[in-house]
């Protein structure tokens, strides 16, 4: 740049002004509440009056709280339906649509498929919850279909039975999540040089081989982003549980977010709820940092 160093530094300084509105907003809406929540987690507070400092007592209680540990285990189970299954289906489906359907049947059809699979993704989760709650209710469609095809003994009280509640919520989550993975992966595929596929085909590589030797390696950044975002979303899972099962029956679908909400607004143990939220926050940040480092390293090797 032709501008002298001093002027350039001055020149750059002017840009800080553009950060002011964002900085004020972020401080008020995210940073201060975050810090406040952190402090509240060391207090006993009913939401009114002055919080009473109790040190680490909330955290000590958490360690012995079965409801909390149950919620953590359920989160691990929800990672299967939030991340693992949708990513796997998404990669295969994106590859089929991009590398096969599009070639054989044209771009229009492939776009139509993509749009159709994406539809559940833009539905409000609460609406999806009403819909699936209706399908999975004891007299709902799921059981009627099972009876119609002669599998009556398999009919269950899907969301009202402690054994089936978590898999039922998971089913709805997979239904929602596949579209997100598919769309991101297809966007990623569109930047792959088509000649790469053509060359592989000429070399006799089949679809399956191309999936593993071209598609998945080339999609690594997208798979990374989707895994990151869905894992974090799994840690914060709230609406599907709130709407379908309200964490029941008998805590079978209790997740940390619901437990936090429950302590904030039902038991009014705000400090205790804050402590759960802090644990969630730390886990999320930990996960985010691991991924950010991974991403930075990837950029270096590129």
């Amino acid at each position: 740049m032709a501008v002298a160093d001093g002027t350039y530094a001055q020149h750059r300084r002017g840009y800080y002004l553009y950060l002011v509105p964002g900085a004020i907003g972020f401080t008020l809406i995210v940073l201060i509440p975050q810090i406040a929540n952190f402090f509240l987690s060391f207090t006993a507070w009913k939401g009114v009056g002055t919080p009473r400092w109790i040190g680490l007592q909330n955290y000590q209680k958490l360690l012995a709280d079965d409801q909390f540990w149950g919620s953590m285990i359920h989160t691990l189970m929800f990672i299967v339906s939030m991340t693992i299954i949708p990513v796997a289906i998404g990669v295969v489906l994106a590859s089929l649509l991009f590398d096969y359907i599009r070639d054989q049947f044209g771009e229009r059809l492939s776009n139509l498929f993509r749009a159709g699979f994406y539809l559940p993704q833009i539905l409000p989760i609460t609406t999806a919850g009403v819909l699936w709650g209706w399908i999975l209710s004891p007299l709902g469609v799921a059981n009627i279909v099972l009876k119609a095809i002669g599998l009556a003994p398999l009919a269950q009280n899907w969301i009202g039975d402690a054994t089936w509640a978590l898999p039922s919520v998971s089913l709805m989550i997979v239904w929602i999540q596949v579209g997100y993975c598919l769309v991101v992966f297809m966007a990623g595929l569109s930047r792959i040089d088509p000649s790469l596929y053509e060359a592989a085909q000429l070399d006799g590589a089949g679809w399956w081989q191309r999936l593993f030797s071209i598609t998945i390696p080339m999609l690594a950044p997208e798979i990374f982003v989707v895994t990151l975002t869905t894992l974090i979303a799994a840690l914060k899972l709230f609406a599907p549980v709130f709407v379908l099962t309200a964490a029941g029956p008998d805590n079978a679908t209790m997740v940390p977010s619901y437990l936090t909400y429950y302590h904030f607004f039902t038991t009014q143990r705000v400090g205790y709820g804050a402590a759960i939220a802090v644990v969630q926050m730390i886990l999320t940040v930990g996960l985010a940092v691991i991924f950010l480092r991974f991403q930075a390293r990837q950029q270096v090797t590129e």
Binding site: L97, F113, I135, I144, K236, F264, V285
Partner: protein, 296 residues
């Protein structure tokens, strides 16, 4: 099962490669098409069920069940849920909140991203990391203080509170996306404008924003839909019926004891309808939009 299917694809494609052509006409391709179509049908089946049942009468539902096609269109249950939940009001509330967030969120994102992506201010990377962490941390860890603060400043149970909160939260994501787009913005254009004596504000408004317009539209559309779908913070901040959003009304139906299955189907259809409308309008934007990060 999946393996067998893929093998079919495998062989058929190998053959087509041997023929030095991407096109292939064999039974294998219909098999794959059928399989993907089946997946799509399964995905769309719940929507289909909702539609055919929401327009039945309760008596018809009771006699022929949820899988039978409706004999006619009966709007009674739709009307009933509409009135029961004051749905028109909910739609209006959601539209106001989401539109405001889309506009303010995009403005905030653009300003931030201009400083970070074009201005390359010191600490840009640190700012981005903080923003990213800010949106990644669970809303649970800010929701109680926000609830308390909103009460303290007298905007609890107002749409303004929700608009402010989401404009900031969404803009953190928007900043992240736009900064990476802007960091690869051609320097020559900015420098040329500089030499012509354009101020920073003029460069932003007359050079950067027009080029970015398609990306900003995509981001705004996403902000709109994300905000429309938000649940926890509206649940906590909006208590009175008159201020609630569609998403919130849906989330609270479980408490409302909709014992009639047709009424439940009607409720879901009303919840789905706005989404379908956005989808038809913004389909291309939405399905393409996730690629905004890779726009050059």
């Amino acid at each position: 099962m999946a393996d067998a299917v893929l093998d079919v694809a495998d062989r058929s494609v190998t053959k087509s490669a041997a023929a030095h052509s991407r096109k292939h006409r064999g039974p294998g391709r219909w098999f794959i098409l059928g399989l993907v179509s089946l997946g799509l049908l399964a995905t769309l089946f719940p929507f289909f069920l909702t539609i055919i049942n929401a327009i039945k009468t309760s008596a018809e539902y009771a006699s022929s069940g949820p899988l039978a096609l409706p004999r006619g269109i009966d709007m009674v249950q739709l009307q009933k849920y509409w009135d029961l939940s004051d749905f028109g009001r909910k739609l209006l509330n959601s539209a106001i909140i989401s539109s405001c967030v889309a506009v303010f969120g995009v403005i905030l994102s653009t300003l931030n991203a201009y400083a970070i992506g074009i201005g390359k201010v010191k600490g840009s990377r640190a700012i981005l990391v903080i923003l990213l962490l800010g949106i990644m941390v669970p809303q649970e860890s800010i929701v109680y203080p926000l609830y308390y603060m909103a009460k303290a400043v007298g905007i609890y149970d107002t749409q303004l509170a929700v608009i402010i909160v989401f404009s900031v939260i969404q803009s953190a994501f928007g900043t992240y996306l736009l900064s990476s787009v802007l960091s690869s913005f051609p320097r020559e254009i900015i420098e040329a404008a500089d030499i012509d004596g354009a101020s920073r504000w003029q460069v932003l408004w007359y050079v950067v924003v027009p080029v970015l317009r398609p990306t900003l539209m995509v981001i705004g559309t996403f902000f709109f839909i994300w905000t429309w779908n938000e649940f926890l913070i509206p649940l906590v901040l909006l208590v009175s019926n008159n201020n609630q959003t569609v998403s919130l009304a849906m989330g609270l139906t479980r408490g409302q004891n909709l014992s009639d299955p047709v009424l439940q189907a009607a409720a879901s259809l009303l919840g789905i309808a706005p989404t379908i409308i956005f989808f038809l309008i913004f389909q291309r934007t939405l399905t393409r939009g996730v690629a905004v990060g890779s726009v050059k």
